[in-house]
Amino acid sequence: MMNAALQATLEFLKLYWAPLLCGVAVVAILPLIVGYIVLVERKIMADMQARLGPMRVGPHGLLQPIADALKLLIKEDIIPENADKLVFWLAPVLSVGAGLLSLAGLAIGPAFQIAQDINIGILFVVGISALGIFGIVLGGWASNSHYSLMGALRSSAQLVSYETAAGMALVSALLFTGSLNIKSIVEAQSKEGIWFVLLAPVAFFTYLVASIAETNRAPFDLPEAESELVAGYMTEFSGFRWSLYFLAEYTNMIVVASVATTLFLGGWLRPFASVHELPGFHFLNFLDFIPTLLLVAIAAYCVVRTPKQPTRVQELFMLAVAGLCFVVALVLAAPVVLRVIKPSLREAIAPFYAGIHGGFWFIFKVSLYIYFFMWLRFTIPRYRFDQLMRLGWHFLIPLSIINVLLVGVALIVGAHFQLHGWGLLLVTTPAAIVALVAAFLILALEKQHDARQEQTAASDFYAG
């Protein structure tokens, strides 16, 4: 029996060593990446507020995440007096677990996917990341504090409200694909030759807003705003437990950005990717060089700024960064240049090109999406909680449902006239406009209704 078990284990490892290794790598590296995303956010916040941000720890503050992580790890673990110990321990674990598990279903490039070829691809990612709600609710309850509980209930009410809108927005984009599999979604965008953000702009807008609310980011961060409920459900968690919640929040941001990128922004496709082999559009292939040029530009900027650094350490550091960017630029340039120089090697290079450049474009688009999140955070003031719920239930949900209906109608009309690719814009743009108009109409009618009710109530008051 033991022999059979050992044999079975070895067979399992032989089949699944690659996904297991990728999974372990992701779980190991993700805290580091999240730490640096936080640093990037603080630097961007500083830049938008005309200051420098963390500069003290390490050159240009680059060791700040490590210092933060060390501090959080060695902090005292405080548990409130009558808190339920089991649930107090479990809550952050649930949040982080849900976030990390949903990362397993995502595909960074055509070759990088931990759980390969899931039939329910995108639904798996969305569904598992919805399990994070329990981490919030149970955490707030386990803290044995009224404010934590209120913050937790508000936060989870917000998440649940915007989940429906986000799901419907995803359905609008999925109508063009016919499959939930992530590779099929990106292949459909490649086949149509147009990204779904252009075919379903209302859906993208809805998903954008809903994803900001889903991750509790500003302007929807009332439940965890410091001036409102201290830190909401996270108040009583300190040290490592708090860092788990933090990790969960930023992991959710990455997941949500990846889902949006896959469905709307073409996943790992280069802009105008499907004109690769089309004659007459060959001039667009210069876009292949954009990754390389971008990194060379960053390297050049670092070299130019080197003499202006105050200390020697920072000078060396700038040169090191420039060198690193240059090396990455070379790696990115290799497949493209080789393909031009030696056309005979085209088939051999194709998977490398797809993998490396696909990975670059995907990470680039996810970074743009996350940068937009950060930009919004430091620009727009917070929504009050009832305004937040009103936006979700009274605007976004009708908008997304009407959008699904109209996009479906548009597709049927398009299929009837046999429109493909860019031709579908002829039918989907009117659908988008009608959906927006309908949603605003509903909102206006409601406002009228509310105003009328207020009028009658006021007159009763003066009469009584």
Partner: protein, 172 residues
């Protein structure tokens, strides 16, 4: 072999969580154990290659119904509930009757196939790698053969929604 390990793992978690759920004094603990039982059931669905049902169970049951339960539990005052008697007076009779029922059905399962002409069909399931794509098959079935139940289910959900809203409104 992997199938068997997965089944026993998820089945063990499901039964243990269910047993714990029914016996806890603290309602929040019961809810947490129900969540684990439902997640284990979803795992069983996945092991049976019913992928769409797996994710629907997680999104609807765990992510929807259990969130609703946890919300309501938090609106209920728990301290008084913790002091009161948890189990009804008929608990021993109920236990005996339930175990008798379990024994009957268990014996029926056990002896099926061992008596001639009776019992469960001796079929072998289709090999896993020759199954059709699950989401597509369920969708096709839902919109082809079972369209009427689908529409009726949506009316049912609409009725439940209206009922819940009506009950939640304050008396004027």
């Amino acid at each position: 072999m992997l199938d068997r390990v997965l089944f026993y793992f998820f089945a063990g978690i499901a039964v243990a969580s269910a047993a714990l759920m029914v016996t806890r004094r603290n309602v929040v603990h019961s809810a947490i154990f129900l969540i684990t039982a439902l997640l284990a059931t979803a795992g069983i669905f996945l092991q049976l290659r019913a992928e769409f049902l797996f994710i629907v169970q997680i999104i609807l049951y765990v992510g929807g119904i259990m969130v609703l339960f946890v919300f309501v539990i938090m609106l209920v005052n728990l301290d008084v509930a913790l002091q009161q008697i948890q189990f009804a007076r008929q608990k021993w009779v109920a236990l005996i009757v339930a175990l008798a029922l379990a024994g009957q059905v268990g014996v029926m399962f056990w002896t099926s196939g061992k008596m001639p002409g009776q019992g469960l069909p001796v079929l072998t399931a289709v090999a896993a790698n020759r199954l059709p794509l699950n989401s597509e098959a369920v969708a096709k079935s839902l919109f082809d053969s079972y369209l009427l139940p689908f529409e009726i289910a949506s009316v049912l959900l609409l009725v439940a929604m209206i009922g819940a809203v009506v009950m939640a409104k304050k008396r004027a």
